[in-house]
Subunit: 436 residues, 4 copies
Amino acid sequence: MSASAQNRGKRLGLAKMLWWRARPDSAPEADGAGSVRKIISLTRSLMSDRGDVAGGPIAADILGLFKTLDQSGRQAFFELLVKDFSPNPDDVGRAADAYRLDPSPAHLRDLQQVVEPPRLELFRRLNMAPEGTRELIEIRRQVLNELETHPQFEQIAADLGHLLASWFNSGFLTLERIDWKSSAVVLEKLIAYEAVHQIHGWADLRRRLEADRRCYAFFHSALPGEPLIFIEVALTRGISERIPPLIDPETPIADPELADAAIFYSITNCQQGLRGVRFGGSLIKQVVEDLKQSLPRIKTYATLSPIPGFRKWLDQQPGHEEIQAMLAQPAAVDRWPETLRQQLLNLCASYLVHAKRTHEPLDSVARFHLKNGARLEQINWMADPSARGIKQSVGLMANYVYELGQLQRNHELYTRSGEVVSSRRVERLARQAIRN
Amino acid sequence: MSASAQNRGKRLGLAKMLWWRARPDSAPEADGAGSVRKIISLTRSLMSDRGDVAGGPIAADILGLFKTLDQSGRQAFFELLVKDFSPNPDDVGRAADAYRLDPSPAHLRDLQQVVEPPRLELFRRLNMAPEGTRELIEIRRQVLNELETHPQFEQIAADLGHLLASWFNSGFLTLERIDWKSSAVVLEKLIAYEAVHQIHGWADLRRRLEADRRCYAFFHSALPGEPLIFIEVALTRGISERIPPLIDPETPIADPELADAAIFYSITNCQQGLRGVRFGGSLIKQVVEDLKQSLPRIKTYATLSPIPGFRKWLDQQPGHEEIQAMLAQPAAVDRWPETLRQQLLNLCASYLVHAKRTHEPLDSVARFHLKNGARLEQINWMADPSARGIKQSVGLMANYVYELGQLQRNHELYTRSGEVVSSRRVERLARQAIRN
Amino acid sequence: MSASAQNRGKRLGLAKMLWWRARPDSAPEADGAGSVRKIISLTRSLMSDRGDVAGGPIAADILGLFKTLDQSGRQAFFELLVKDFSPNPDDVGRAADAYRLDPSPAHLRDLQQVVEPPRLELFRRLNMAPEGTRELIEIRRQVLNELETHPQFEQIAADLGHLLASWFNSGFLTLERIDWKSSAVVLEKLIAYEAVHQIHGWADLRRRLEADRRCYAFFHSALPGEPLIFIEVALTRGISERIPPLIDPETPIADPELADAAIFYSITNCQQGLRGVRFGGSLIKQVVEDLKQSLPRIKTYATLSPIPGFRKWLDQQPGHEEIQAMLAQPAAVDRWPETLRQQLLNLCASYLVHAKRTHEPLDSVARFHLKNGARLEQINWMADPSARGIKQSVGLMANYVYELGQLQRNHELYTRSGEVVSSRRVERLARQAIRN
Amino acid sequence: MSASAQNRGKRLGLAKMLWWRARPDSAPEADGAGSVRKIISLTRSLMSDRGDVAGGPIAADILGLFKTLDQSGRQAFFELLVKDFSPNPDDVGRAADAYRLDPSPAHLRDLQQVVEPPRLELFRRLNMAPEGTRELIEIRRQVLNELETHPQFEQIAADLGHLLASWFNSGFLTLERIDWKSSAVVLEKLIAYEAVHQIHGWADLRRRLEADRRCYAFFHSALPGEPLIFIEVALTRGISERIPPLIDPETPIADPELADAAIFYSITNCQQGLRGVRFGGSLIKQVVEDLKQSLPRIKTYATLSPIPGFRKWLDQQPGHEEIQAMLAQPAAVDRWPETLRQQLLNLCASYLVHAKRTHEPLDSVARFHLKNGARLEQINWMADPSARGIKQSVGLMANYVYELGQLQRNHELYTRSGEVVSSRRVERLARQAIRN
């Protein structure tokens, strides 16, 4: 082992890797059908007693071969997971019958065993390979991509999602601050993943990590250097009402000690293969806690959030001809008369407060923050003048305020009675919408 | 040192802790019945939609209260886990019937859902508390301790064991070397946990971490500073035939560069609450890999292992009156005549090679190493002269050799045909036993 | 997480070591006179142009040989440093003459060059060896040990001390907290070095690192794992007046959140070879700063300090026959009548406030804290009942208070006018001493 | 202190910073002359007894004020350093006289003291400020920039350089590998500092850190995140003869396991303020050692180096009209006839082997590598076709081979007799040059 490895603080993770590399017959072949056949044979081996003891190398071979597959090869492998690694209906039937006759603990246990899809154990054993977790997330990403044409793969996505949700339990995540001192491996991922307010290269990224900005992410020990979800925060004086100053690389850097508000202006899920595993609510709360301690002068924690469903909803509302006429001229967005502006804000408040699907708000971002216990504070005119912002919400954006002492109460009001907790200001806007 | 410290600086795990501490009503009360009632109410809250979002603080309260319980309080909590958090037989029955009528994927999914004990979800949510994983392992330890008097708690132990086995998948473990530079938090645990060859305080420990010794452990990111299993290795010239020089603190320190053998002389599982979760086989292989790289002159990897079942088996064998006579005088162990010594070695070889329970060797240590693919190499006279060694195995110990290139073949011979792969020397001893 | 390990992985300091080990002819020989001769030849080589480029391996050889020397060998080496590595008087004379004739910058530079002892450059080059700094400190320690019999070595000690003071400039030191998570390598040094209030093994040490205690040390990057000076702190309610509860391993652990005072009860310089290099004052101030931030409820920062010169001074004072009579019976220390106790406290206050050597207090500990800007707050009866405490100061100890806002003012009063800044209480005691 | 700071692994360096910030009167003023006056007053304070104890905050104030100075302010400060912080000629004279009368150790010590410029002590005390070392390096950089117009500042540069050379002794440097996992803070400095073969942004940098490249730097603990000198290495098959494939971001990434040569193609000193402090030779040797261990298949360690003085020398050589004619048409560089090419190579070999200034080679790069003990191996046609390469050396570059076992011998041949150790091939070229 080299000097560098010796110094590597005693973390000897590589040994695992080297062990299987030493095996002479483990070189993956490249051609498609052969690879699938080889994978099938290896999965049998991995599920056997041998896999139980020496699973790591076999798992590594399977994952190595999987990477060489083209789309049809992958589909063949997923078909295998459906056909050969689902519960056996006869076994399930027999166990169900036995339980019906005698609902004893033993029969229950039998039933539990036969209904568990064997692919769960396969996934657990694949995880023993070096980088196994990363590969399983990638496999799920590819399964999700096939769902439209292969709905039967849904069960694979569901089983793997269930397993990953257990493994990525929030008790296993660590919150880390990301700044310009962070590794380039991590930083390049922010550039790649940020979808809400795109990061245009390293200079742009650097501005978002300056003294008056904060960035936090959740990490899992099995995915070093790989953020799962990250949040971007601007430290400002007062609640930000417009997005451009927050993301413009030319905005002068402010003294963070003078800030009294922290504005969460972007949250990004990084791993498509973890779709459906939720981290967001706990992320914001932990970030608020950390900011409270490191910057005690911050008094307000608020988002500056898109309103993704507003325009679509608005187009379905009858009346509002004048507004619709303005919307037909997107270039004229700066020249809205004051009364129409006001009318649009009223309608947006009404949308956020009253528009529902079953019991919950129609707007997905509103659902997320309200469920977390935040309060809808304010709606801002021309807050996002980008083409996308105009298209989604006529440039409007909303602030949701996170007040730690109120989160639990608000959350309960929301979950019990579907109440959208709003500021007086927003309530007034919503009332005016109805009156008009 | 600074680089690591800087990076550690970004791990903000404490925020989680502080958030719930900030809540005014979370101080756990102390009295027994009240605590149990409070726990019950909190578990309901944790399992509700609210727990899904704000689970961490509630989970922390439950675990905090649990720690204040006395034995009867704990039993009451475990009873709750059995009664209120098991699958509902009616639901299971109905879902089984539906599946019998129509074995569709949807019915299967229903069945899967209703047979899963709700306590699994409870455990997953408890894990969201700071130190949640550590507490769940402690809860399982206490459940296991109650099994004798409360066999119905077995299902709790099984469910929690199942969950922990998934979470402690070997893909999530890191192998670390432990030496005198390690934290006292870790080192004191070696002293506390080592059961095979007891460590008598810090001076004794220090000797076991000198230049001619190695110590490795598996760690999990959720249990920092807490070894899960550790292994002690001596670097020697030739295969060690006796344990005393390996554990005597006065043994002179040898130059590790001159060693040609690595002797694994002790493996210790540290967490009672993880009983049944297996790490051992993969530990030895990874350690061999690391030693191969850091000390390329090492040619032989072997254990010096106890033979825990030998004496018990021997006492049940007919004949061997002379041997039995000697055994009746433990103090005379040094004065065995050569022929009797030889006879005892023959019998021991026969025990290890031929004595079986169903298809596997009767000796538990033999089962472990042979299943891993090791070879039974040698049996040593008076290798462990301690009272315990005399009692267990008349002082005999065995060497099992780990030859990387042979592990897979040996493992397959063992699992397919139950063959005990042995050296010629041991085979000869075993043959002589039969002949006699 | 891995990031820390990754970063540690890149510190490749060992390479340096390996390079010189690779050289075939570098094995140091062992016999005494031969070693000295070899060292002499190597020092010449190290001081040559060759040493300038390839100094590391030669330096390593010299230091390796030095370790094999017995006392007479070391003395021979030190003689060499005096004879061959001092400024050349003729050169100095010539350069002085030239400067006298023409005090030009060029002549000054010549003079500067010839008065610098060549051993300074030798020490700088020896520092290029792996562990060079550690060895140079050890060499100085041995030089200091020889001073009594070899006063001519004083110049070596002075030169090396000058160099080390520059290298251990407080800008290069890092303050680190030491607790039970620290490496055993560091912890065992606390046990070994603590001289004021001895640490009796690991259990005793552990108590001193519990939640209601703090320990800090200065480290230098060239001496990893080697504390230079460390300070022990107890978190208490109110100013501690007696040492036993602070160092008794059986003292119950208090909640640090309830403490309002931090008592510095022991400061230990670890490196004899760094004698005369001062770290202490800046250590206390930095520790106070860190405590202020991590434990904002602490209001008082005070020492509980020995009064090492009191008894000696007292014995030289005329009168006080009753006190002298009591002192003659050390065993009766508990049975002092109240009036005598008061009289002794008065005398001690008078000693600390008025007894001087030139302009500074006679008491060395008083000098240290007063120069730092602390205030003499209180003198405590029977604060240190150990044999040593009785012998030094009749069991009395003093509290010095560090009030950050006053340090500078006090320090200036002390340095300008020699004023001993004291509390009213101590001033009153001192006045009573005079009145009596 | 925030959670993140608490986790910062006990490195409490910030305390130092905060202490002085807490002082009410320490806010630096901004106007020029006032700042200089304030600095002068503070330097007096820093040099007093008070500065000895409480130096850190005063030093921080001085350095903070220094940063606010414009050029004339800085010059005024440097004048102060010359006038008020140089040795006092009268004192020097008196001490020289005393020594002449009686060359005793005491008189020598007096002389040593008065010839040491007081600014050395000033610099040592300034180093006690947070970031003090960084600021002192910056001060020296600015002093060096003034030398042309203010030659009298040379003594400041010399004194500070002497001090920094002592502080940056190679025993205090750590070699670290830099790769894409490194902090962006470090990586952006590679882009900024690389002068030989410019790095054009992050994508270009990334290519230079891929699997078939290596980058190492020296760091000092007082300058975290600040490389002092770095070296870029390409892992190749055979000795590289041309620079473009090594620095072209489009060059395909090769498997490092297949490489048999490590080519050092760029060494960059990063800190102008450390000009004259040498790290280079020891850097290459340590890198070779690390590569030897981590990539044992590498057999050849060689540079691909510029020949900066060739063209200038060539232009001064009489004859060679044909060559001079070609050189007059730089665009035609591809169309040199073979004989002229050969002739140019011969001349270049002659230049490197025979052209001297006093005893050393005329070429500065040759001097550096030959002094390190490398061997001049090969001269390559059109190795650097950049405008700069053509201008410096008609596109020629040289390989110097570092053979660990030969370094010492070669170094001695070079320093004793000025011999340029060359390969037979280069020797032949040089002979042909003479013959022609």
